[in-house]
Symmetry: C2
Amino acid sequence: MTGLNGVRAGFAGLGFMGKHMACNLLKAGVDLHIYNRTRSKAAELLDEGTGVADTPRALAEAIGGGVIIICVTDTPAVEAIIRGGEDGAGLVDGLSPGALVIDMGTTRVESTRELAQLVAAKGAGFVDAPVSGGEVGARDATLTIMAGGSDADVGRAAPYFDILGRAHTHIGSVGAGQVAKCANQTIVALTLTAVAEALVFARKGGADPAKVREALLGGFAGSRILELHGQRMIDETFEPGGRARTQLKDLEQTLEYARSIGVHLPLLERDTELWREMVARGWGDLDQSGIMVLARALSEEGGGEP
Amino acid sequence: MTGLNGVRAGFAGLGFMGKHMACNLLKAGVDLHIYNRTRSKAAELLDEGTGVADTPRALAEAIGGGVIIICVTDTPAVEAIIRGGEDGAGLVDGLSPGALVIDMGTTRVESTRELAQLVAAKGAGFVDAPVSGGEVGARDATLTIMAGGSDADVGRAAPYFDILGRAHTHIGSVGAGQVAKCANQTIVALTLTAVAEALVFARKGGADPAKVREALLGGFAGSRILELHGQRMIDETFEPGGRARTQLKDLEQTLEYARSIGVHLPLLERDTELWREMVARGWGDLDQSGIMVLARALSEEGGGEP
């Protein structure tokens, strides 16, 4: 039991992840007040009686000293919600002391730390809590949540995490959740490309990729990516899931932060070029597993000596 | 039950994998005749009454129309055993019609197909059955086995695979097992480097790598490599296991075969440069997870803009 039945909380962002997460909070009995840039989306989702706020500021005012969860597409979107503009309609403009802001999107590490300071200036707490698990994880509440913040703040967020995901890990102070998410995306992207190149190679070498996937799952090559995305590559079903252009955005953000702290990541740099090439070829809206389409195309171009 | 109790079979190669595999066959009651280049190794291992052959030819003669398993370091070693030299002491020189040769090492795809033809000319069958799982898998009989050969030959090999591993998959015709092993090594090497770069990045970004590993295991970044080798990277325990130089050999072999069939694998090519660099820096005898040492060194050199 989470003990959140009837507790009022705020939720901003009803995108392909957020809509499922808001639903799961509502189902768990949270008295959810919603803000979404496109108001009609909020209206669709909500039962009568749940509050819909017109601005992030109005959302903050409705929640008072409670918890506000944000799940939007990218750093500019979360900046827009928290900072607002000259109209003074941002979340910070309405934030009460004692409130807790939880950003569950994938946001730049530096921006995360700046936004946390802005929120702290209002006497409120901040937790960065990006997730892994995609739309399926959001829908089935099996997300993996990587949290950065103080012990007290992450402890206060925990009952919400219990509703939204399978597990959460307190990685460290504010920003550490986003650093972990960067590490996650590094491994996910590289493993996707690895599986893609391996399956393309296997087929060209005369082996059945489905048999190869099956054989490899039990050994050191076994991974969640080989299991799920490897199957999608074999079936060539690339409806997103997680889009390639989102993966590229996350990788660019990771490399940008890595460079800012003087860290060189040679394999990730090469892989990011490949994801950039995938998007440049018009495949950015495919599922991430569509990297196989690029790997297949590249396998036949340049570099190969017949 | 395998039904091999008292059945005579041959085994060539008592290296760090083969010694465990031979032991497991002996424990299962197989009447094993052994050949090893260094005879004393065979003597150490065996109980009285088990046959030790002086040459591969003598091993083949002792086994007659039975099954002979080979598990040696590399392609030249398996070529030496099967072809022998001018002295006529090779396995083919003593091979009886109806025998079955099973190569469980990681051997070049083209050589595999040539050796299978040589063996077929003697009226014997050939199965390539490389493994994944390392020394621990060999010891605990939890290897994953990727088999290439005819249905009949792989069926005949299956009871031995049941003793030696957790699972075997019949990938396709002769050589397909080695193609699958190449695909396996591609994924393993790239995942190792991915985990290494991610953990190095996480530490430099102020997150605890142990927490990051823990958080990521439950999501899309989860893999056997993150679980096992990720822990070794965190503990910095690099006793081999699987050596980096063996990984490099397997990757060079994979790229060589890929080029020979006109297949370009851009990410694997970059990764192979990194493994080559690792060996060049004198870290070739570290466990594969030692790629973290290279990733850490490279993270501080070139490319990074402070």
